[in-house]
Symmetry: D2
């Protein structure tokens, strides 16, 4: 599978490194606007065509798929051009700036029978895969809540706010784990430095009393990547900054009884062992790209396809709407 990669800034080099080292794929061309980044790319990969002109990639008959690793506002035009030129596309998260754009890309790809994969890298980590299997096996019991804190100092994005920058991680993970769409969203936040929110909080109401919450912040002195997931039977803590033991499952919970003759509910606590399962140690991006190559080869849609990307954009749009109304409930 021959790839063209657009964008060689922060994340692009990781995509190129993995695509070149995988057995089933190679990179034929890299397009990048910054001369410095082009120089870096050319030095690291003397055998790859490095260019400032994306049309070199779009028009190359040898290129099967294009990876769009650029700012979100450019995704639509670049992915559209790629699809129109018959290329499969791998698009950085968030998928597009609007749901309308996402819908058009999906429709276009369907018509051309091409694959879209949105780079929801976290879905391919050992931690998320383990959590998904725990939820799937009913280890936690009925899900109660999902609460993620994702804060650190910067980097400020010039074109998007902290929600669009950091929350897509959590939204794509939730979308994958919870297996349902939120019914309504409330988002609050504040702009301290410029015209974009640098701190924001998001509540998502899912069916069956599942509630999710995301805390994102570009102005935190410490880096935090912690998610609490509570269920009827067990609860877990995923701390992505731990070197080992990223996921800890607690055999803790609440028992509710309603004894005859007693009006009020009796709540009692159950406390037990904790365990931290060993997690798969592979590089998530490598697995994701290998899966993409496999999906293209076999003509099947990945689970993180355009529709998954679109669901995340829809949540971001609703959150933006709520944020602009200072926390109004926005139904999806």
């Amino acid at each position: 599978m021959n790839f063209g990669v657009i964008g060689f800034g922060y994340w692009g080099p990781n995509v190129v490194r993995n695509l070149t080292s995988l057995d089933g794929s190679q990179v034929l061309a890299i397009a990048e606007l910054s001369p410095t980044a082009r120089k870096r790319a050319q030095k690291a990969y003397p055998g790859i065509h490095v260019t400032a002109d994306v049309s070199d990639l779009m028009k190359s008959p040898d290129i099967d798929a294009i990876a769009v690793i650029t700012p979100v506002w450019t995704h639509y035009e670049l992915a559209k051009a790629a699809i129109e030129n018959g290329k499969h596309v791998f698009v950085e998260k968030p998928f597009t700036s609007t749901t309308a754009q996402g819908e058009k890309l999906i429709e276009l790809a369907q018509r051309k029978n091409l694959r879209i994969m949105v780079d929801h890298t976290f879905l391919f980590t050992g931690a998320v895969k383990k959590i998904a299997s725990l939820l799937g096996e009913g280890t936690l019991g009925k899900l109660y809540y999902y609460d993620s804190t994702r804060v650190n100092l910067g980097l400020f994005q010039h074109d998007i706010n902290v929600l669009w920058d950091l929350a897509p991680h959590d939204l794509s993970i939730m979308d994958y784990l919870i297996n349902a769409s939120p019914e309504a969203i409330v988002a609050t936040g504040q702009k301290h430095l410029n015209c974009h929110e640098d701190i924001a909080f998001m509540t998502l109401y899912f069916p069956e009393k599942v509630i999710a919450h995301i805390n994102v912040n570009w102005l935190s002195p410490v880096k935090v990547r912690t998610t609490l997931i509570g269920g009827e039977k067990r609860m877990l803590v995923w701390n992505d900054l731990e070197a080992d033991e990223k996921v800890k499952i607690y055999d803790k919970g609440v028992n509710i009884t309603n004894r005859e003759g007693v009006y009020e509910l009796l709540v009692s606590y159950r406390s037990g062992d904790m365990w931290a399962p060993q997690l798969e140690q592979v590089e998530a991006l490598r697995q994701e790209l290998s899966y993409f190559v496999d999906c293209i080869d076999n003509g099947k849609d990945p689970h993180n396809d355009g529709c998954a990307g679109l669901r995340v954009v829809r949540m971001l749009e609703a959150a933006t709407d709520s944020l602009n109304k200072n926390g109004a409930l926005v139904y999806l």
Copy 2:
């Protein structure tokens, strides 16, 4: 100063222990409905009159002040009776169930020239005092945000939800530190087990772009007591579960420049030393009660008086209102 104490459940014994060991105060009587708790009280304090009847305390001519350490729905009636009987009152947080009740108590105490103190214990900890002095001296610069997480497994309260149970701590601390009243509040949450929310999130919009956020949860497998406070010049983390180094100040921040001819803001990060100041090690409740005795002696109102208690109740009422409307913005 002679005290009567109503309520000898979880917190009451601490109040009694401190009042009896302080030089300026003693406890003459304890009123408690539970026979078991009365027995415990009598065994621990053979010299104190222990009774099931609060009117023993209300009517005792020897008692100067009454501490009301009971569930919130009983505060108004008990405090009202105490004040009407000419006693100063120390009331457990939250002050009252409604702002109307709080206002009546304040008015009544003013008319009788009696003191009300609301038990905002955290204001008397070494950590909060240090943070207050750091903010006062401008160490953090202009305040940007206050973000508190206060989660653990239980205890479920039968009469109030998690917001009324846990958030008063943060609201009273904020009220003390920020020195301004919020303009509007958004609260979201969910009830999983019974008719009270067991998980809730609250955003408070203060003047001048200060934003505060509180995350409270009765269903967390791990206990967290962490507050991030960000300012223009420095940021701090207060982790109340650390044995030492509860407060860490980071010489980190963001510099914004708007170079001539450049449309967009340029944001750069500043990173420097961290330091953890030594904190006062005294028992907060002891300091608070000593301060109350002193306020009564000198006829002055404490900073955590009925008005402070009322401000917290007002925020809780607004939050409840917002929560019932699934996150609608409620102005104060």
Copy 3:
């Protein structure tokens, strides 16, 4: 069971509190030399006879057992007098200043058919009990090593060095867990402030290649209470400062193979899950004293009897010998 308690300094009040609250025991008298401590004792326990004269306790016909909670250099004389007066004794750790003293006390008690218990409190904690059962069930496999770090800032003892102050904890735990006596001991250390070592390190060679190591330090800026225990099949970390999850068991180990035709051993690592079992939450001292009362009642020797105390003193003596010779190997 009627107790007399000698010593009401740091630890004595805990012994008195537990003996008075247990069903099977009460405290009739407390002997203490310091007038301030006597005053404190009398205020807290108006019903107990508080005296400066230990012979009040020794000669009281009503007292069945005496707890000696005093500096180690006084243990022998006090315990001897107690036993000679027909009392059972509970002695603070370390048992005695010399093995000779310990042997005499054991012999004397045997002759009088009285019980000795040495206060090895840690053996009654949930953590040590759990570790003992894990080792007993073979969960760790053959034991490889036991490595404990027990450091903090002070308190300096005026009569003993850091080894005699802190190492008895580890030595009594090892004695209980390893179930074998060390063959030889090496100890090193240094005196920085006065005539007693304030930092010391101890290596114990047990049979079958089991090695133990203890790091004790009165001059550490941070408090550490961590023990690593490695076995052929699994390894564990016991961090006594953790609020929860004090004991973590790692399904990690080393596999050794010696393939035919290959001279050198092939070592491969096995890595798996970690789990933290729930621990019993009772107060260790309470359990220990309850067990003592039970042993007296039933005329049986506790596992932490004089012989256990003597084994610890023997190790301390050997360590002192080695320390004085700058680390010479001392056989036991």
Copy 4:
């Protein structure tokens, strides 16, 4: 400066990467016995001559310096050949297998006026540089102790024991920081799996009551890299596994007074703020190699020269001697 690099296993690639990216140096040839590693080297560096024959490097007139990144038992022969062929040498730690070998290399290099640098990488980390400057400025006051724990699961070395594998880090750091040579060494340890110790403890007696201790272990379930350094005025903790705040300085200490008329010393504790200075964030190896190029250019000996390497080997030899005698005191 043209380099040849011998060894492209675990550490060699890092040396090559840095030498090729530095302005003042390039790599002309890599020698490596393993065909797989040679293939990897050739793929990553198509422009560099990769060979199985070290004599290609030794005899190349274009090569100015040779980096010996191979097992310790090969260092002497390789470094000797390099020096004899007029090349400067950069040798992996530990310098040599014996002090005799080290002495010969130093003498040889002196005669040929060539530079030797021993790869004591840690001396170039931000943490060690900061600690050195704190000690130099007297921030800690007179040094009391240095206590390092360096444990993890494997990797087992087939040719050396855990002391020779892990302790060189600590010994080179001590040598750099303490600025004095130990007078005597005690080492203990145990072999569980094969003929090499897998766990070992080392005490070093320095002049003026400075004591150092090293705990190294290949069989620990958790990775620890923590060093406590205690001084008369302040103490510090260096935790190399922390992402930020690797070095924390505690304004804690002990005050000793000897009041007139009082025989015993009075020890009181002082407790104050903690601070974590910001550390330099550069890659240590890069700095070290850049410093080596600079030393060669300017004909000056680096501080981590052959003599520094020899001092570390001398300590390892003494420790081995003590270890073989089960902890006998060995004078240096």
